[in-house]
């Protein structure tokens, strides 16, 4: 076995060239809170680790015309401290803040949470609901990919060799838009989602929902964008009838696994209940 190499490039192009040029397996290192655990457990055996935290775009947050560009490797603690970002997208920031402990928060990133491709990754349903888009760089330049199109299954992504996520873009919000994320876990801290729900919705000035996105985590091989659940809200005042339809649509979209943390029946039922609770918070935020 050849010794593991470490590189810390300072530009996107240099990183893409390193990743693309590796003869064996190369891995991006962001906060390392998944990567180091997997290295230690010998689940992965790369020959090269490319630390992307020395590339300025990867660890900074900028806003232009209401569009936030979040460096994919920015630690969650830094996002949480950004008061404007938090006020604009509380669902996304709260979802990422659920990841691990204070120590984990000092390192864990949105890009790592997304590209690790766990079906239970907390920030992913929130980013999907927010209609977030990734700027992906590779040896042939950059392309934009919707967050829901990154993970393809547990531990699998659609990124080609040499590609990595540079920034995550949160779109300019329409007036009266609110987002929220809730997860169900058996404990109150430090646990993996049994179900996670992200919802973002927009109201018109009469309080009718004109736009919505609903995403479910941990109930399928990857986070789902559930159009039927969004349709249950659009055109309504998000009243009890709409909530009942949302609940049913969320349950219908589930195809979870059975495991010690939740049976198929339990996860499916909880997805409906959580969808209603999440929608209520998003609605409240859209109104205020």
């Amino acid at each position: 076995m050849s010794a593991l190499q470490y590189k810390a490039p300072t530009s996107v192009d240099e990183a893409a060239a390193l990743l693309a040029g590796a003869s064996g397996e190369a891995r991006v290192l962001a906060g390392g809170t998944d990567l180091l655990v997997q290295l230690r457990a010998a689940m992965i055996a790369p020959e090269l680790v490319v630390d992307i935290k020395h590339i300025p775009e990867l660890t900074s947050v900028s806003v232009e015309d209401g569009v936030y560009s979040i460096g994919a490797a920015t630690p969650s603690a830094e996002l949480h401290e950004n008061a404007d970002l938090f006020a604009m997208w509380p669902g996304v920031i709260e979802a990422m803040d659920l990841v691990g402990s204070t120590q984990i928060q000092g390192r864990a990133s949105l890009g790592g949470n997304l590209c690790n491709a766990s079906p239970a990754a907390d920030s992913v349903p929130a980013m999907i609901a927010a209609n977030a888009v990734c700027v992906v760089a590779g040896p042939n330049g950059t392309r934009e990919v919707a967050v829901e199109d990154i993970a393809t299954g547990p531990g699998q992504t659609s990124l080609a060799k040499g590609e990595f996520v540079v920034t995550i873009r949160l779109p300019k919000q329409a007036p009266r838009t609110g987002d929220a994320y809730l997860r169900f876990i058996p404990r109150t801290e430090m646990d993996i989602a049994v179900v996670g729900v992200g919802i973002c919705l927009t109201l018109d000035d009469g309080g009718v929902c004109t736009d919505a996105r609903v995403s479910l985590g941990a109930v399928a091989a990857r986070a789902l964008l559930v159009k039927e659940a969004a349709d249950a809200l659009i055109g309504t005042k998000v009243d009890d009838a709409a909530m009942a339809n949302l609940d049913a649509a969320a349950q219908a979209a589930c195809s979870p696994i059975n495991d010690k943390r939740g049976t198929i029946e339990f996860r499916t039922k909880v997805a409906g209940v959580l969808a209603r609770r999440t929608a209520a918070i998003a609605l409240d935020r859209a109104r205020s």
């Binding site: 593991l4 470490y6 390392g32 655990v37 230690r40 680790v49 402990s101 000092g106």
Partner: protein
């Protein structure tokens, strides 16, 4: 295979070391630099016994690569007391018997110090959430939480 040469600052002192890429910052602190105050409880980010500050952020040193310390500033439990003078948190942990075997203690102290620097007057709930990534298998958490709250209260009163 050539080892990585790393130049860093630990507890205010410039430090150089050699490490394999696989070695974590915790491995380097304990095995290369003989700074054995930081403990390894789990090596997977769950227990917080390895807590250190890197560039002003509280992290698990078991989830940081040694090579990542290049150019950074690291603070460990060895830098907490000022010579013979214990930090108020260390003093209070002793007074309140907030430790038994002591394996978790350096991690709790580093984490609690980081909390009080950011939020000098936390509620009990805030202390409990902040320290949720630090596990103690012997003492029970009440004495630990109480010690942190006592230090905050005394600093406020002073």
């Amino acid at each position: 295979m050539a080892k990585n040469h790393v130049t860093t600052t630990i507890n205010g002192e410039p430090v150089e070391f050699l490490c394999e890429t696989q070695e974590t910052l915790l491995d380097v602190l304990r095995d290369e630099l003989q700074l054995t105050g930081s403990k390894e409880g789990c090596a997977s980010g769950d227990c917080g016994a390895c807590s250190v500050m890197v560039d002003g952020r509280l992290v698990c040193s078991c989830l940081v690569m040694g090579v990542e310390a290049e150019g950074s500033t690291v603070e460990t439990i060895e830098g907490m007391a000022d010579g013979e003078n214990l930090h108020p948190l260390q003093q209070k942990f002793l007074e309140n018997a907030a430790l038994q075997c002591g394996i978790c203690t350096p991690g709790f102290l580093i984490a609690a110090k980081a909390l009080l620097e950011k939020n000098p007057d936390p509620t009990e709930t805030e202390v409990r959430y902040w320290l949720a990534g630090n596990l103690c298998r012997c003492t029970g958490y009440d004495k630990i939480i109480r010690s942190v709250l006592d230090v905050a209260a005394e600093a406020k009163g002073a």
